[in-house]
Symmetry: C2
């Protein structure tokens, strides 16, 4: 890969931040198709591809999901809430689906959309009291909720963070023995 | 983001494949520093950053880990085995650490390294019989293994896959009710 490509790609990773303020502009069907294509290409154990995504643009349904959480959750008025589900019978459903969510997150960054990982949404979908909700939104039977992304055009700019933990690597070198 | 940037970034995501054949060239300390920087920048629940990575270049130790697995595992003769661990006390240790692994995976792609997710390594580290192994390699106490990446300069080229599952999205539109 050319060195200018390398720099652009590293910038993509460095510049991605969790965005919690969005413009009202809807996510277009072309953008949604790019997110889907990226999700499809994630790696998975035994190539099971055990993921499913529900792209909710309906603000009333998003609001209902926020209200069903205890305490009530916040999807930051994002125009799109992308909920991720995984096949219960897969070998590594959570890890595989988080890799697919990462693909979506970086594709957002590449096409000018912001995103924020939202954890409470999976608690709502996985709550036995609301076990009909996912099916009503088109999720296949036998899938459980893994997480969600609030997605939209950013209405805030955030610098590269300066609060990162250091000393997160140990290195075991060739001549260590 | 400029449109040429968008294209380069989407290519990054599309072109990443699981690489299982590596050249013998070691991963340089500069490359390792870039991987660490990328890992630090991953999102995490409550910004806990509950990850730790052990970068094993020592081929004898990698071989031992392969042999400790049942059945024996295969790290594909990669010059670097990057093992990921997470703090047991964190809110979402697995999801957070997989996001950090995804950052590492794409940084690899950006700087000309290949990677393959390896699952069996975490079984070895998490096996009670080998509970001293992680500590001996510099992993802090209270962390468990999440997964690993085999990393090195690719010795194979793979096209964009054509075996992806379709119909992985349901769309709930604004006017759906």
């Amino acid at each position: 890969m050319k060195s200018s490509h390398t720099e652009i790609c590293l910038d993509l990773i460095k510049n991605r931040r969790s965005i919690r303020r969005f413009q009202k502009t809807p996510v277009t069907s072309h953008q949604l198709a790019l997110l889907q294509e990226a999700a499809e290409l994630a790696p998975s154990a035994r190539n099971e591809q055990p993921w499913f995504f529900c792209a909710i643009e309906n603000q009333e349904i998003i609001h209902q999901i926020e209200q069903l959480a205890e305490p009530a959750g916040n999807c930051y008025n994002a125009p799109l809430l992308l909920c991720a589900f995984a096949d219960k019978k897969a070998l590594e459903p959570v890890k595989d689906t988080v890799f697919a969510l990462a693909n979506i997150m970086y594709t957002c960054e590449a096409i000018g959309l912001g995103s924020c990982y939202i954890n409470f949404v999976s608690d709502v979908f996985n709550c036995p009291a609301y076990d009909k909700l996912a099916g009503a939104l088109g999720v296949p039977e036998g899938y459980f909720a893994v997480g969600a992304l609030a997605i939209g055009v950013p209405a805030e700019e955030k610098p590269v963070p300066t609060d990162r933990k250091k000393n997160i690597f140990s290195i075991v070198q060739e001549d260590a023995q």
